[in-house]
Amino acid sequence: MNKVELLAPAGDLEKLKWALLYGADAVYIGGKDYSLRANAKNFSIEEIDEAVKYAHNIGKKVYVTMNIIYHDEDFNNIEKYIKKLDEIGVDAVIVSDIGCISIIKKIAPNLEIHLSTQASCMNRLSAKFYKNLGVKRLVLAREANRYDIKDIIDYNKIDVECFIHGAMCVGISGRCVLSNYITNRDSNRGGCAQICRWNFDLYDGDEKIIDDTEFTMCSKDLQMIKYIKDMIDIGVKSFKIEGRMRSIYYVSTVLYVYRHVIDEYLKNKDKFVLDEKYIKILSRVANRDNVPQFYDKNVGVDEQYYLGRQEISNQDFLGVVLDYKDNMITMEVRNYFKVSDYVEIFGPKTETFKLKIDKLIDEDGCSIDIARHPKQILKIPCKKRVYKYDIIRIPYIY
């Protein structure tokens, strides 16, 4: 069986545990410094240590991002940080700056380096250069198509990691500083203000183009579910989900789907057929349209997103299972639902099933009609066994 890795984002320790529980083989995290999500919660060095211990204990991996473009002042404490990561035993660091790569090679030669997508590597010779530099894995540019990916793998015999799901930069990664010049926020050091999602007036010469749809550069998200089989066949080693700042619900749902698809294909390649329900789930959990982007075609208007700031806030996530005993689920509420509603429950050990809410019981033992308060603890009768950390949502597939 091919060994492929499902790699998930984790913005904090709680998200890390959820990601590993929901099927990730590895997670990538950012420290308090040097990461391209400077405004996420991120991990202190103590938390990185805890994360690595936790992951290694269950046979999984942790990669730490150090993928900013460094100014000289950013290198001030970097040697100490790298040594500490090496000591902790992180499985790899993800880097784009060639100066940073050189420093790591010098002071922690055994620390594995993965090349970040920020380096925008998408041909076999730049891949060769990085391989000779000591990089062990390439996270390819998101503009790399199927043939680029295959040729890079075949020519260099190097591990390749590709994004399979989530938001995309519109600009070539690492080559956009719109945020710097429009908001003074440095996109290449983690402060990106996502200018590409703004609306602008577009002028043709001196004439402003007037339309109900304002000009934006925003692209649809990436979704590669239909191509997982092909990507495994051409030799992609790691499948990366974007979203260190995404919710537990989003990451768990996406992981659940890709985990199932990868495992189903690897289990029986000849008979594999992609179940449409997975596509339904991914479309539902997304807040923007998602498409395969560059993998199989030159992108055009169909890959752009012109619906403005109407990204749908997802209220499908109803709650989390905290316990199951005596045919009763104890759950923590996240969104509104009520008695007589149908819900779906799924989890790492729980195949998705539908449940009718016959009763809701609050912490005082009283029956109530509506779950309306986030974080409220409630009990629901359920004959089917569920597990802690299973997710309860509005039905997608039943």
């Binding site: 400077a38 405004n39 996420a40 919660k41 460094y70 100014h71 000289d72 290198f75 700056d97 060639i98 100066g99 940073c100 050189s102 925008s120 998408m122 041909n123 076999r124 010779l125 730049s126 060769k128 250069f129 990085y130 503009e143 790399a144 043939y147 680029d148 519109v170 600009g171 070539i172 080559r175 956009c176 500083v177 719109l178 710097n180 010049y181 003074n184 926020r185 440095d186 290449n188 983690g190 402060g191 602008f200 577009l202 043709d204 010469g205 402003k208 183009i209 339309d211 749809t213 000009f215 550069m217 692209s219 995404r246 989003y250 560059f294 992108v299 055009g300 208007v301 890959e303 752009q304």
Partner: protein, 287 residues
Amino acid sequence: MNKICLMINNLDEINTNADIFIIGLKDYNSLNVLELSLEEIKNIKTSKEIIVSMNKVIHNNEIDKLIDILKQMEGMKVIFDDLSIVQIVLENKLNIELIWGNIRATTNYQSINTYLDYNVNYSILSPDITLDEMIEISKNTKSKLFLPLYGKFNIFSSNRFLITNYLEYINHKKSNKQYRIGNKDLYYDIYEDNNGTHIVNGKCTNGIIDYRKVLDSNIDYILVNSYNIEFDINELINALTTLRTLYYNNMLDLKTLVEFHNKFTNKNTNSGFLHQKSIYKVGDMDE
């Protein structure tokens, strides 16, 4: 002696008093400069040096053609971003002087010095860092540096055709005019080429007031971009050569510097990031 390097946008600009010129190689360039074919570049009649910009990110299916082109460029200076160009030059032992031109990443001397190990002896400093940072880099590297002192520089490149896509979506015909995007009184030129879309800074960086500091630091080149400049490019280049001459004759005073700086200042110029640091931590923004 410091040299003045002009990124040209019109072939007539070869006749200015700049010392060196940058021209883009058609289909391989991401800078906002004039683009010509290799044959056209080679046929330019000038005794001055021409540097060829090939600083786009290269697709895999372009590699074979790229090797052929580079083999025809021996003896030339080439600006690159993609490391395939370095790899090709090394593997084929080509006599090409390489200039690191990923102007988003030339922000620290660690990286610039790493490239020295690969015979990349020149780098274009990023316009996204401060003058002090540029000077600090110059003190810590043997690489020959180009410092962007005046002009509008590229701030975005994409493999997508963002104008074409949008106009198609709203069913509006595309013209041959210059497109701009605007937001709160700031306007940015946006254009497409065969590789995708590029956006140019709406403000023109004017660092003339800092030229003496640059000369004091022995930085090898200053970079001027003539793209959509609102002043006469000949006058600008002549002003810079005058300032340089005064400096090397110990006759450059602050009054003259200010006078020349102001002469090329208007409401569309500012000092860019020369005296302003960018920020990146603004708060906890998790979902």
